[in-house]
C-alpha cells in the first residue's frame, strides 16, 4: 500500500501539478489494487481475447435490440 500511495502522489504531482491529500492517495491506491485484481487479469484464461473488440460493439448490440 505504501508503494501504491507513493505512485498516487507522483501521478498527482505530474498531472495535477499538486500533491494528493491523504484521502486521495488512499483512494487511488485502493483503485489500483482493485483494478489490478479484477480487470487486468486475462479473461477466462485466454490471452488477449480483447485484441479485436471495439468498445462500440456495445452500441451495435443495442441497435440490434432496437430492431428486434
Amino acid at each position: 500500500m505504501a508503494e501504491l500511495k507513493e505512485i498516487a502522489d507522483t501521478l498527482a504531482r505530474l498531472y495535477w501539478s499538486r500533491p494528493a491529500n491523504e484521502a486521495e492517495t488512499v483512494a487511488m491506491a485502493g483503485e489500483m489494487e482493485r483494478d489490478s485484481a479484477a480487470i487486468a487479469p486475462p479473461r477466462e484464461g485466454q490471452g488477449n481475447v480483447f485484441f479485436a473488440i471495439e468498445p462500440s460493439t456495445y452500441y451495435a448490440l443495442m441497435a440490434k435490440e432496437a430492431e428486434a
Partner: protein, 473 residues
Amino acid sequence: MSKLHPQSLAEAASLIRTGEVTSLSLTQAAIERAKTSQPRINAFIAIEEDAALAAAEAADRWKSGGKPLGPLHGVPLAHKDMYDRKGMVTGCGSKIRAGHVATSTSTVMQRLEAAGAISIGRLNMSEFAMGPTGHNAHHGRAKNPIDPERITGGSSSGSGSAVGAGVVLAALGSDTGGSIRLPAACCGVVGIKPTQGRVSRHGAMPLSFSQDCIGPLGAHVDDAYSLLRIISGADPLDPTCATLPPPDDLSADVSALRIGVLGGVFAKDVEAVVAGGLGAAMMALEPHVAAIRQATPSDLSTVAELANVVAMGEAGAAHFDWVRERPEDYGPQIRMRLSQSLAMPAPIYIRALQMRSLLLAEFLETAFSEADVLIAPVMPFLPPRSADVDIGASPEMNRIVSAMTMFTRPFSYLGLPVVTMPVAVSPEGLPVAIQIIGRPWREAQIACLASRLEHELSLKPFVPQVAPLAQSA
C-alpha cells in the same frame, strides 16, 4: 383530498383543463407544501417562487385565450438541480457551479415546458450526482420523508424526498449507478431508469458519458411513465440519443409475459424482510402473467469494478481541470472519488468498455433465455440510517458505495431499462422495493408489468401527504 392537492398528474391536468382549479392556485399550493416541508426534509436547493408563479399566470392566460393545451398544462413539478434552463442557475448540488447561469435550455426541460409543466424549483442532489446515500457537504442532505433519520438514497435525493412527501407529483432525476432507483426505493415512490440512449442528455450535467440516463420519479407508475414518454425521443442535439420514437403507452397485455426472478448474486445476503416483500409481490403477480421462475444471471462478479472504472474514469475526465485547480471546492468525499480516475491506466478503462459488449451479450443469452422480464431487489437491505453511512472521505467510502449499488450498478453498466417500485412495507414502516428489468428498449413492457403489480398491491402512500391548503381554488 383537496383539489389543490391532486393525487395524479392526470387528475391535476384535468382539473386545470376543466377550469376547476387554476395553474396559479395549484402552483401556489405546491410552493406552500415545498416551504412547509423544507425544514423537515430539505428537498430543495432553491424554491423558485417568482419564476414559478409567473409561469403559472402565463399558463392561465394561455388557457383563457382558448389555445391548445399540452398534456401537463399548468401542472407544477420540480427537478434535480442539473438541467439547464436559459437564464436560470444550474448548480449541480455543488459549490463550483453554485452561480452558473445556463445560456440555453436542456432538451428534457424544453419538452416538459412544451407539455405545459411548471417548475417550482431545483431539487437537492448529491454533489455532481456522485453519491448513493444523498449526503451533500454544501447543501446538507435531503431527508427521507418516511423517517428523516434514514437516507433518501442518492444521487436524486431531493427528487425522491419531494415526490415521497407529496410536495410534487413527479420529478426528473438521473441515474448512472442507481441514482433514480435508490431514492425511489428509499422514499417509497416509483422510479424509471430508461435504456441507455433513450432520453436526450443535451443540456444535462454529465457524470459518466457511457452510463448516464435521465429519468423520472413519480408517485405512481402512470405519472413516472407519462414523464418518460414526454422527455423521450430523437434529438439532433444529442448524437448519443436513439432515433427511436418514445415508448408505447401502458395498454399492452402482460398475461403472456414470463417473469424471471434473478438468483445468484441478487439473492445473496438479502435481508429476510426484503426477500419476503419480493416474494409476496410475485405471489400477487402470478395469476396475471404466463409464468414466474428463477432466472440465473451470467457471471457479473466483476461488474461493480468495471462500472466504477467507467463511471469514475469519465467523471474524472469531466472534472479534470477543476480537480487540479480548485480541489478544495469539492466536498471531501467527491474529491476522493474523483481522484480514483488518475489511477486508471487507459487500457484498464478501455477494457472496461470492451467487456460491456461481452457481458451484455452473455446476460441477454442467459438471464433472458426463459424470461421476458427480470425481477431483483433494489438493495439487499432496508433504507439505512443516515448516521451509519455518512462517512465522508473515509477509506470505508468504497465499501458503502458498493453495498448500496450492488444490485443497481449491473443494469447501469449493461444499459438496461429498469422500473423501481415499492412492493411491501417493513414492520418499521419502511418501503421494500424491487427492480423490474427489461431487455433494451422495452420500457413499455416493464412499465405495463409495474402498473399491473401496482394495481394488485394497492399500497397506501408511505407518508401522510403534506397538509393541503384551504379549499379555495
